[in-house]
Symmetry: C3
C-alpha cells in the first residue's frame, strides 16, 4: 500500500482540528493559500529561468557565427509562447471542452478578472493568474526544444511561424488529453510534470523539423561523420545548471501547491535522478569514447531530469536513482546512434527530450508505487502524443518548406545566420590579450 | 538589554489572541506574517540578481577592452549602494521627516533593533530588516543605470564618488516624495514600483553624465555616426534574462506582502508587458533596420518591463500588453534618435530607463483602472523628479569635472580602461581552437 | 546566558496555546510548517546555485586550456556529493551515533519513507527530504572548494576519488561534531552556517592538495613569481554574484525555518558583510597594488561572506560590517602572502575559504552578542577541524599520489587538461569579428 495515502489521510484528519469547528469548510485557510500561491510563483520564475538555460546551452553547443540567431530565437520564443498562451493556449488546454466564446483571451475575460479567480475559490493552490503564468512558462519550453535541433540552418521567420502555431495549438491540444482531463487522463495515463506532454512534444517537433531540414552543410560528407563542436563550453555548462535549477520549479511546481511532503519528495527524486544521470553518462562516455566528454555529461544531467519528470511524485527514491542513471546511459548511446544514422541534431535535443521523455513516461509503468499505473497505458500515451505531434509538426514545417522555405541558402549557412538573418555578429571587437 | 527577550515577550502577548474569535483585529497571524516576509525576502534576492543582469548586459554591449572596468563598477555599486543605504538612505527615504538623530544608521539603532521591528507590529508584510534589504537592493539599481550610459570613458574614482552621493542622498530624497509619504504622494501621484522613482532617477543621472562626458572617441566623426558594437551578445542576453527574472521581485515585491491575488496579477502584467515589448521592438527593428536586431529586441524586453513598472498593479491585463508593446516600439525609435542627435549612450540606458520610465509613469494616467489617477499629476511627478535628478546629477558630475575630472585621457580610452584603471585585462590568455 | 534558550523555551510554552487544547501537542500549525518548509526548499535551490557560481568563478580565474576540465569536475562534484550524501553522508552526519544499520541509505529506508518524515512530526521547520536536500547541497560545496585550488594540474580520476571520500566521510564526520550534536557542540562551539564546518573543511583539503601537487608549471621560476591570469573576468564575476546569491540560502536557510525576524536579520548581516568585504578589498588592493584589482574585489566579496557565515545570527549589524570589512582586507593580504611563500592556489580558495573561515569562526568569539560564546572554544573548534581535515586530506591525496598519481604529465599540463583528460576544447571554432 501507498504511504502517500496514509499521509493524505492523516492530514485530512488534522484539518478539521485546525481552528474553529466550522470555519474552513471547503477551502484552505488564507494562510495556506498564501503559502501555496507563493510557492507556485517561485516555481513559475524557476521555469522562466529554464529559458535562459536553453538559450545558453544551445548557444554554447553551436558555432559562434550562429550565436545571435540562436539568442534571438530563444528570446522571441518566450515572448511568443507567453502571448499566444494568453490569447488561446491557456483556454484551449484547460477547460477540456471547446467553445469559441471560452476560447480566446482568458475565457472572454471572465473568471480571470473577477474576484474568485484571485482567491482559493478558484483553486486551493494558486490564483487564476498564477495558474496562467506557471502554465505559460511551460508552454514556451516545448517550442524552445525544437529550436536547438533545427539550429544553424533554419530560416528565422519560418521558425517563428512554426513556433507560434505549435505553442498556440498543438502543445495545448495534446496537453489537454491528460492535464485538461481528456481521454488519456480517463484511461489512467500518468505524466506528472511532462516527460511526454512537454519534452516529447518538443522532441517530436524537433525530429520532424530536422528530417525536413536535412543536416548542416559539411556534417555528413561521403562516408564521414564530421563532428561540429560547440563554441563555448562555459555557456553550455551554465545552461545545464540553469535548467537543473529551473527543474526544481518545473517538477516542484507540478505538485500544484506547497504541500511540504510532496514538494520535498519531488525535489529529492528530481535531484537524485539528475545526479545519477550525470554519473551514468560519465561512465558510458568514458567507456565508449575512452575519455569523459563534457557535453555528454551535461546531456546526462538533462536526461536524468527529463526521465524523472513523468514520475517524480510516484516512484521511490531508489527508483529515481535507477531512472536517472539509465537515462544517462541512454542519452549517450542515443546521441551516438542518431548521429550515425545521419540525423543532425546539433545539441542532442532529440536524444534528451524525445528519447528520455519516452523512457521517463514508460518508467512510470515500471517503477510507479501506484498500482493503477500500467506500462500499456503509458505506451499508448507515448504513441498517441508521438503520432499527433510528429504529424502536425511535419505538416507545419512541410507547408512552410513548400511556401516560405525553411532553410537558409548555403551561402548564408556558410557565412553564418548572424550576418544573414540579423546583420550583426555575436563577438564583435572581442579582444584577446596574450600576456601568457 | 537584549532585544530577543523583547521579541519573545511580544510573541507571548500575541499568541493567545491568535485563535480566539476576535483575534485578527490589527495584525496578521504569525503564519501570514511568515509567508509575507518569506515572499519579500525572495523578492529581495530577485532584485539582487538584477545587479548581475546589469553587469552582464553592460559588459556584453561594450568593448572587451573596458570589460574589467564595467564589472568592477557594477560590483562596487552594489556594495556602495547597500552600505550608504544602511548609513543614511533608508532613514532619509522612509520616515518622511528629517531629524538628525533619526537620520544615520537605522535611526540611531532604534526601532530596527527592538523586538517590534521583527514582528508584524512593525509591518504586516515584513520585518524591519526585510524592509531595509528590499529597499537597499532597489537603491543600488538607480546608480547602476547611470553606469551603463557613461561606460567606456568615465574615470573610475569620479564615478564611484558620484554613485555614492546619488544613492545616498538624491535617490532617497526623490523617493521620499512618494514612497515616504511626501508631497507627490499627497497629490495622488502613482508609481507602483518605480518607473519614475527608480528608472527615471537613474535615467536622468545617465543623461546628465553623458552630456558632461561627451561621446566616446571615434563615435561621431565629421558627418558619420559610427556604430560601436558590443563584444559579447551572449553576455548581453544573459543580462536581459536576469533582469527580467529580477523584475518578478522588483514588481512582485512591491506588493509589499505575499497577497496571492495581487502578486500573481503583477506577475502577469509584468510578464506580458515584457513579452509585448520584445515583439514590439522586433517589428519596429525589422521594419526600420530591415533585419531584426538582437540588441533592439533585448532593449525591447527591458522597455516593456520599465514601462509596466509604474502601473503593474493598477492597469488591466490587456493594457499591460499595450503598454509593453508601445514601450518596445518607443525604445527602438529612441535609441536611433538619441544616437542621431549625437548623445552617446553605449547600452541604450537613457532610452530604456528614462524614456520608457516616463512612458510608464504617464501610462498610469491613461490606463489605470483607478479613477483617482490622473495624467496631469503623473506628468507633474515626471517633471519634478526630472528637474531634481537632472539638476543634481549635473551638479555632482559638473563639480567632479571641475575638480577630479570625469573623463579618462584619450590615450587611456583608446587602450581601454581595463589597463588604464585596473592594470589588468578581461580575456587574458583566452585561447581559441580552430578544429573547424 | 543564552537568548536562544529563552526563545525556544518561550516557544515551547506558546505552542499548546496555539490552537485547540489538544491537537498540536508538539508541532507547529500546518500553515507554519508549509511556510517553513517552502523557505527551506528555496534555500536549498539557492545553495544549489552556488555550484554554478563555483564553476564559473574557477573557470574564469584559470586558463582556457583547462576550462572543460574545470567545468567537468564541478559538474561531477555536485552529482557525487549528492549521491554519496544519500548513500551515507546524511546518516553519518546527523544521528550523531554510529550504527551500521542506521548508516547507509536513509537509515535503511526507515524514517524517510514513512509518513512522519513528511510532517512536522519530523521537524517543525522542514520534512525529512528537505533536510536531506538542504544538507546534501552543503556537502558538495566542501569538495568544490578544493577543486579550485588544485585546478590546472590535478588528474581527473584521482580528484574524483578524493572528492568522493572527502564528501562521503570527512565532511560529515567533522560536521557531526557540531551539527550532529557531538563533542564540539557540547563544548559550546558555535558555527552558525559553516565558516569552519564547510569553508575551512574545504580550505584545509585545498591546502593539503596544493602542497602535495606543487605549483603549476611556470608559476615560480628561479626568483620570479609569475602571475597566471584567468581567461575570463566576466565568468569570474558571474561566479561571485551567483555565490553571493546562493549565500542568501546558505546562511538564510541555516535558520532552519522561515522565522521572519531571524531570517531577515541573517539576510542583513550576510549582505552587509559581503558589501563591506568588497570595499575592504578595494581599499587594500588600491593601496598595495596601486590599481584596484577586480579579482581581489571579487575575492573580497566572498571573504566577507565566508567571514560572516559562522556568526550571521549572533553578531550585531555593526559587527557584521566590521567582520566583512576586515575579511576583505585579510583576503588581499593572504592572497599576496600565500603566493609569496610559493603556494600556488589559482583561484585564491585557501585565502577565501580557509583564512576567512578561521577569521569568521574566531570573530564569533569576539563579536557575538551571546556571552556563552568564547574565543577559546572557537579556537579549539578551528584547530580540531583543521587537524582532522588537513591530516585526512593529506592522507587521501598522499595515498593517491603513491598509487594512481595525482598530477598530470608536464606535457599534458602544457597542452592543457582539456585535450589531455577529455579530448575536447572549450572554445572550438569561436570566431571573433573585427569590424572595429
Amino acid at each position: 500500500m501507498n504511504y502517500w495515502v496514509k499521509i493524505v489521510f492523516s492530514l485530512l484528519i488534522l484539518i478539521p482540528l485546525l481552528c474553529s469547528p466550522s470555519s474552513f469548510a471547503a477551502a484552505v485557510s488564507p494562510e495556506m493559500f498564501a503559502v501555496n500561491n507563493t510557492w507556485m510563483l517561485v516555481a513559475t520564475f524557476l521555469v522562466f529561468i529554464m529559458h535562459l538555460g536553453f538559450a545558453t546551452l544551445e548557444t554554447g553547443l553551436t558555432r559562434s557565427k550562429n550565436t545571435v540567431n540562436i539568442l534571438f530565437k530563444n528570446t522571441l520564443i518566450v515572448a511568443i509562447g507567453i502571448l499566444t498562451y494568453a490569447l488561446m493556449g491557456f483556454n484551449l488546454m484547460y477547460p477540456g471542452e471547446f467553445s469559441l466564446g471560452q476560447f480566446f483571451g482568458f475565457a472572454g475575460f471572465g473568471i480571470g478578472t473577477d474576484a474568485a479567480g484571485l482567491t482559493s475559490a478558484y483553486n486551493e493552490g494558486y490564483t487564476y493568474w498564477t495558474d496562467f503564468m506557471f502554465q505559460a512558462m511551460f508552454a514556451a519550453t516545448a517550442a524552445t526544444i525544437v529550436s536547438g535541433a533545427v539550429a544553424e540552418r533554419v530560416k528565422l521567420h519560418s521558425f517563428l511561424i512554426f513556433s507560434t502555431i505549435y505553442v498556440a495549438i498543438i502543445y495545448p491540444l495534446v496537453g489537454s488529453w491528460k492535464w485538461g482531463g481528456g481521454w488519456l487522463d480517463e484511461m489512467g495515463f500518468y505524466d506528472f510534470a511532462g516527460s511526454t506532454l512537454v519534452h516529447s512534444v518538443g522532441g517530436w517537433g524537433a525530429l520532424a523539423g530536422v528530417l525536413l531540414l536535412g543536416p548542416r552543410f559539411g556534417k555528413y560528407v561521403n562516408e564521414n561523420i564530421n563532428p561540429i563542436m560547440g563554441h563555448s563550453m562555459p555557456l553550455a555548462t551554465i545552461g545545464v545548471f540553469l535548467l537543473w535549477l529551473g527543474w526544481f520549479g518545473f517538477n516542484g511546481g507540478s505538485v500544484l501547491s506547497a504541500n511540504p511532503g510532496m514538494v520535498s519528495f519531488v525535489f529529492a527524486t528530481t535531484t537524485l535522478a539528475a545526479a545519477a544521470g550525470i554519473v551514468g553518462a560519465m561512465f558510458t562516455s568514458w567507456s565508449i569514447q575512452k575519455k569523459p566528454d563534457l557535453s555528454m555529461v551535461l546531456n546526462g544531467c538533462l536526461a536524468g531530469l527529463v526521465g524523472i519528470t513523468a514520475g517524480a511524485d510516484t516512484v521511490s527514491i531508489a527508483s529515481s536513482v535507477i531512472i536517472g542513471f539509465f537515462a544517462g546511459i541512454l542519452v549517450v548511446l542515443s546521441v551516438i546512434l542518431i548521429d550515425r544514422i545521419r540525423i543532425d541534431d546539433p545539441v542532442g535535443a532529440i536524444s534528451v527530450h524525445l528519447v528520455c521523455g519516452i523512457w521517463g513516461t514508460l518508467a512510470v509503468g515500471i517503477f510507479s508505487t501506484n498500482p493503477e499505473h500500467s506500462f500499456g497505458v503509458q505506451l499508448i500515451g507515448v504513441l498517441a502524443a508521438g503520432a499527433m505531434c510528429f504529424t502536425s509538426a511535419f505538416l507545419i514545417f512541410g507547408l512552410l518548406k513548400l511556401t516560405l522555405g525553411i532553410r537558409v541558402s548555403q551561402d548564408e549557412e556558410l557565412r553564418g545566420l548572424d550576418v544573414g538573418e540579423h546583420g550583426m555578429e555575436a563577438y564583435n571587437g572581442f579582444q584577446i590579450f596574450t600576456t601568457q
